[in-house]
């Protein structure tokens, strides 16, 4: 298998599908020359031309509306907002239009909204968490891949589907390398994977937090604790089958992400596990999340706002103590 970066994985899947389906096109700002703010489509404008890799003015509302209308007519648009923080200017189009068109009108809406998110630098307005927001909207599906393999596989599935997708890629994973598969591999939504197998504690997570959880698991291994890390890959739909199976088998569960704990999607998952497995769990379901703060510009403030490896280790020890 080929080894590429997370960003190259997006390009690889996109290139394959664009070669097969002439109705696929991408719209966003700054796509043609630099290939987007995360190089996500670098080189594709040369290959596919300015009609299919379209530079837009900064008009998020119109960009997403253009995606909605063209998808309803039978094209397959990808609206690349670069930063998911810019989706706030298109909320009506995403929530009131895209998400509801099938329910109201019975129409297919093969629209993908791709953007980069995740907590890093650039200050409060460029560091929002979107998983609980978008997964809470009936009609939307939400991809949150960690590995390049899943970026490509989930993209390919999205481009063969009929439903709107919010495709969230993490800032810190842009250059992360991993294997990708060939033309015929598709990852369905709603199927989690085991990133690291274990038996004493289960951490259910997604996105960049898989990295942090995996590192914590490595450290705990040296202390004789076997930690399993489950990578959800999509936060709508969520693979409750795998979550409940492993939670029931392992009995001690932590649900983790880097969004503010209050209102995080980890609450939805933790409460579902508790409700379904109450009598068979060995400990209450714990959660890891960020403080309820906007993310400041100063790097130490950033680190103080979001969970770090020590927080994961502490939670693992705490859940073992019950």
């Amino acid at each position: 298998m080929t080894v590429v970066t997370y960003s190259e994985a997006w390009r690889s899947g996109l290139r394959e599908e664009m070669n097969k389906d002439s109705s696929i096109f991408v719209m966003g700002t700054d796509l043609q020359e630099r290939g987007g703010h995360f190089s996500q489509v670098k080189g594709l404008a040369e290959e596919f031309g300015p009609e299919r890799i379209r530079d837009t003015p900064i008009s998020e509302s119109a960009m997403v509306a253009a995606g909605v209308g063209s998808a309803m007519l039978g094209a397959r648009p990808i609206i690349d907002l670069n930063f998911m923080d810019f989706s706030y200017g298109a909320m009506d189009e995403i929530i009131n239009q895209a998400a509801k068109i099938r329910y109201m009108f019975g129409a297919d809406l093969p629209l993908i909204i791709r953007a980069t998110a995740g907590i890093a630098l650039f200050g409060p307005q460029h560091n929002n968490s979107f998983e609980s927001l978008f997964s809470a909207i009936p009609g939307l599906s939400v991809a949150v891949p960690y590995r390049p393999y899943d970026v490509k596989g989930l993209l390919k599935t999205s481009l063969r589907g009929s439903d709107p997708v919010i495709f969230i890629m993490h800032k810190k994973l842009t250059g992360a390398k991993g294997e990708i598969a060939g033309e015929d591999v598709f990852i369905p939504f709603g199927k989690a994977r085991i990133a690291a197998a274990g038996s004493d504690v289960l951490i259910v997570t997604y996105g960049y937090s898989v990295e942090v959880a995996s590192k914590a698991a490595e450290i705990m291994k040296a202390e004789g604790v076997s930690v399993e890390v489950m990578d959800l890959r999509t936060v709508y739909p969520i693979d409750y089958e795998m979550i409940l199976q492993r939670s029931g088998e392992i009995g001690r569960v932590i649900v983790a992400d880097e969004a503010p704990l209050f209102g995080s999607i980890t609450g939805e998952i933790a409460s579902t596990i508790s409700e379904k497995l109450y009598s068979s769990l060995k400990a209450p379901v714990l959660r890891i999340g960020a403080k309820r703060v906007p993310i400041g510009a100063n790097p130490q403030l950033v680190n103080a706002s979001i969970p770090n490896i020590e927080d994961y280790q502490a939670a693992i020890k705490k859940v073992l103590a019950f």
């Binding site: 008009s59 253009a66 599906s141 009929s162 369905p188």
Partner: protein, 326 residues
């Protein structure tokens, strides 16, 4: 000059719309239309004139006040009335209601409950037409209420820079709920604003069905000739309030009477046809009878239809297509 059959079609469609709205208004007051509706009486000529100049393959998106657009596009009045009643046999399966009528088979991509959303979706339809290389145009209806929403201007800008095959029709009844357009529109000139964005635009008398028709036909030709997106500001008037049951004091009785008595699109078209001996009084009566009968049937159909089965409430939120292992 429009052909004779077309001239009569204009009349029968406008009369059908008026009859539908009149009956639907009464039924709404009686509680038959959950959520109410927005009456388009007075605006018939805009809908009929525009739709008559379009082809089947043209794609349309509309506003919350769109019964007249739907009827003029040829939608089934039975399917529409059933949707107003939110029955399962309605065009949107009882899930859309009056503001969200749809007919994909007629490339009518729906009414919209959010001001300005329809015109931006129409811009998307135009982009889709361009990408898929179809020989058609997209038409987006908006009202005067959307002239000041940001999205409208983002969409106009996008259509201009990309030379999209988009016709915007402002179905301009001059009042956004209770707010008269001049009070809230900087510069007050809708056509000038569009032109300043690089879009060709003109103002027409929305109560003159022939003028609307000819302007639309010209605009369509220009678009297909590659001359860029177009805008028509069709000035019209609504006889009723913003929504059924509105108690409004923002317009004078004199103003409403003036439009009803002197600028009614149906009366004026009848006068025109009679003066040119293009129609007889008997034919007019027959058209009115036929409209009455059609709407009676529409109501009967709606009354007799079932409400959606609540077991289906969670169906078709998404298609499940993304769950498949390909």
């Amino acid at each position: 000059m429009t052909e004779l059959n077309q001239a009569k079609d204009f009349l029968s469609q406008m009369i059908l719309i008026r009859e539908f709205e009149t009956i639907a208004e009464g039924l709404t007051l009686r509680g038959k239309v959950p959520g109410g509706m927005h009456n388009s009486s007075g605006q018939e000529a805009v809908a009929v004139g525009v739709m008559a100049a379009l082809k089947d393959e043209d794609a349309i998106a509309s506003t919350h006040r769109s019964h007249h657009h739907s009827i003029a596009r040829g939608m089934s009045t039975q399917s529409m009335m059933a949707e107003l009643f939110t029955k399962s046999t309605g065009c949107s399966r009882g899930r859309g209601g009056s503001m969200h009528l749809v007919d994909l088979s007629r490339n009518y991509f729906g009414g919209n409950g959010i001001v300005g959303a329809g015109v931006s979706i129409a811009m998307g339809l135009a982009l889709g037409i361009h990408i898929l290389k179809k020989n058609a145009i997209a038409v987006g209806f908006m009202g005067d209420g959307a002239i000041n929403t940001g999205r409208t201007w983002e969409s106009i800008n996008m259509a201009v820079i990309w030379n999209l095959p988009l016709l915007i029709v402002i179905d301009n009844n001059q009042y956004a709920v209770e707010t008269f357009m001049d009070r809230v529109t900087g510069g007050r000139d809708f056509v000038a604003r569009a032109k300043s964005f690089g879009m060709s635009a003109e103002i027409v008398d929305g109560q003159n069905v022939e003028e609307v028709y000819e302007a639309t036909a010209r605009a369509r030709e220009r678009i297909l000739a590659g001359q860029g997106p177009q805008l028509i500001n069709a000035v019209t008037y609504r006889y009723f309030g913003h929504n059924v049951g509105e108690v409004g004091k923002y317009r004078t009785q004199e103003e409403i009477s003036d439009w009803k008595s002197n600028k009614d699109p149906i009366d004026n078209w009848i006068s025109h046809l009679l003066s040119k001996n293009l129609i007889t009084e008997d034919e007019i009566s027959a058209i009115r009878e036929s409209a009455k009968l059609e709407i009676v049937k529409a109501v009967e159909f709606a009354e007799a239809s079932p409400f959606p089965n609540t077991d289906t409430v969670a169906d078709d939120v998404d298609s499940g297509s993304l769950l498949r292992q390909l």
